[in-house]
Symmetry: C2
Subunit: 277 residues, 2 copies
């Protein structure tokens, strides 16, 4: 059985060629009920203006991407990162979303200490969690594929993300479940169950795995249905774990970005219906 | 404390620009005692000729790369792969190495079933293991980094590799521990201990993790010391697990391949001494 658009959310990055009003128009035209926003385009259009635009259109902001980058060793850099994350929490609250996605950060230059970097993330969450709670925002640690471990995110598996999250209350810190990052991991289904049992699945995102990977491996996330990932299988895991929220499609893909944004959004909505339950 | 060359083995792929006799000459000149060979250049120079050349030079063949590619569904393809792996076992025996490295294979075209692919690997090992034993050769399943899960190797972690290997006797099937593929995995140290406890560390290989990754992510393995991996830390894990064998350096790197092969071998030997204990 195929799905409907009722739980679909388009992550803004998938169609970053659309300016904010174009994105909202396209969502209304296609019947897309939710959007995941990024801080940079929100800043470009204006925070309050974006909040009003989305609210007036009746769209739901499912997540704000992204906070994080907590792994610096230098005290001044760490203070600056925490300040920036407090701003991200405030922006999420203003935009009316409860979920701030966190990309935790890679190894500092010259460091080979993954364990130490992961501990510094925990230190930052201890400060940021209560601040987020005060603003009605939950933090969603996103494990990124292990190919990003050195330069982007030392949290590589759901297991590691939950080991961090569970040091804090679930309404402060949970996880992002993104198929692109975890599909290879035979332990991930059990970790989704673990996350669900403590109410820590704060968002669920889809992207497909296609090869060859492009240089830098950032912008090769496949359109839903084009790759190796069985989306219904992963939807089944999160739903069995009690997740009933939005399902975001977040693609970073040079080929999609080169096309007409509305056309890409329409195609993504079709793929979503065809490949979810 | 830095290391010596006594346990160093140069994997032939690191300096693939050197023809077989050039490789042997360079090893003798630099005092490199071991080589890891690949089937294709062995075939180019001739199997018996290579065996004699290496034997006469007094070098040790630490591994033969590689067998594997067991994940096909089609019966004829599977039979062909098994035949080819029997030839690889025979070649290893002729070359005088006890270790055949296995790269297990990716998802068949159109398949999204990682679990099924892993089971077909087990089926192949059940046939190949006894054949290898008869030839005095041990099979070394190599978990490849999760970024290769779809197109090259569905075995992505040491845990998965050992789950497969432990279905068979240790003198038939063990694992390859390669820093490049497992360095991000906080469970890998415990899995190395697990492998050592059952005598299944059949080879230990070094490569460093550098970014950005190149397109296709195959040929960007970093020279020892250039990246994020603490080689002594991993050497410590395998030695604590009882491994006393050769340490191979295996780099696939376009920049190294573009240079003079002897110069690259000399540099690699220097880096080995500087970064091992």
């Amino acid at each position: 059985m195929t799905g409907s658009l009722s739980r679909f959310s388009i992550n803004q990055m998938t169609v970053k060629q659309l300016a904010m009003p174009e994105l909202v128009d396209a969502c209304l035209e296609l019947g897309v009920p939710g959007v995941g926003l990024w801080r940079e385009p929100v800043r470009t259009y204006g925070l309050e203006a974006t909040a009003k635009l989305i609210r007036d259109a009746g769209l739901t902001v499912t997540t704000l991407c992204r906070g994080g980058f907590f792994t610096a060793i230098d005290a001044a850099e760490r203070a600056k990162a925490l300040d920036d994350n407090r701003r991200a929490v405030e922006e999420a609250a203003t935009l009316g979303t409860e979920v701030l996605v966190l990309v935790s950060g890679g190894l500092p230059t010259g460091s080979k200490d993954l364990h130490g970097a992961r501990e510094r993330i925990a230190d930052a969450l201890a400060e940021l969690g209560p601040y987020a709670e005060q603003h009605g925002v939950r933090l969603a640690i996103e494990p990124l594929h292990p190919m990003y471990a050195s330069d982007r995110c030392v949290v590589s598996t759901l297991t590691q993300a939950l080991d961090l999250a569970e040091r804090f209350p679930a309404h402060q810190v949970g996880v992002t479940v993104d198929t692109y990052h975890i599909w290879w991991d035979d332990r991930a289904p059990a970790q989704i169950a673990r996350a669900g049992a403590s109410g820590r699945i704060h968002t669920f995102q889809l992207a497909d795995w296609t090869t060859p990977l492009p240089e830098g491996v950032l912008n090769g996330r496949g359109q839903i249905g084009d790759g190796a990932i069985d989306m219904r299988e992963w939807q089944g895991y999160v739903e069995a774990a009690g997740y009933t929220g939005a399902i975001e499609v977040e693609l970073f893909n040079d080929a999609l970005w080169a096309r007409d944004g509305r056309e890409v959004l329409a195609e993504t909505a079709e793929r979503f219906v065809a490949h979810t339950a």
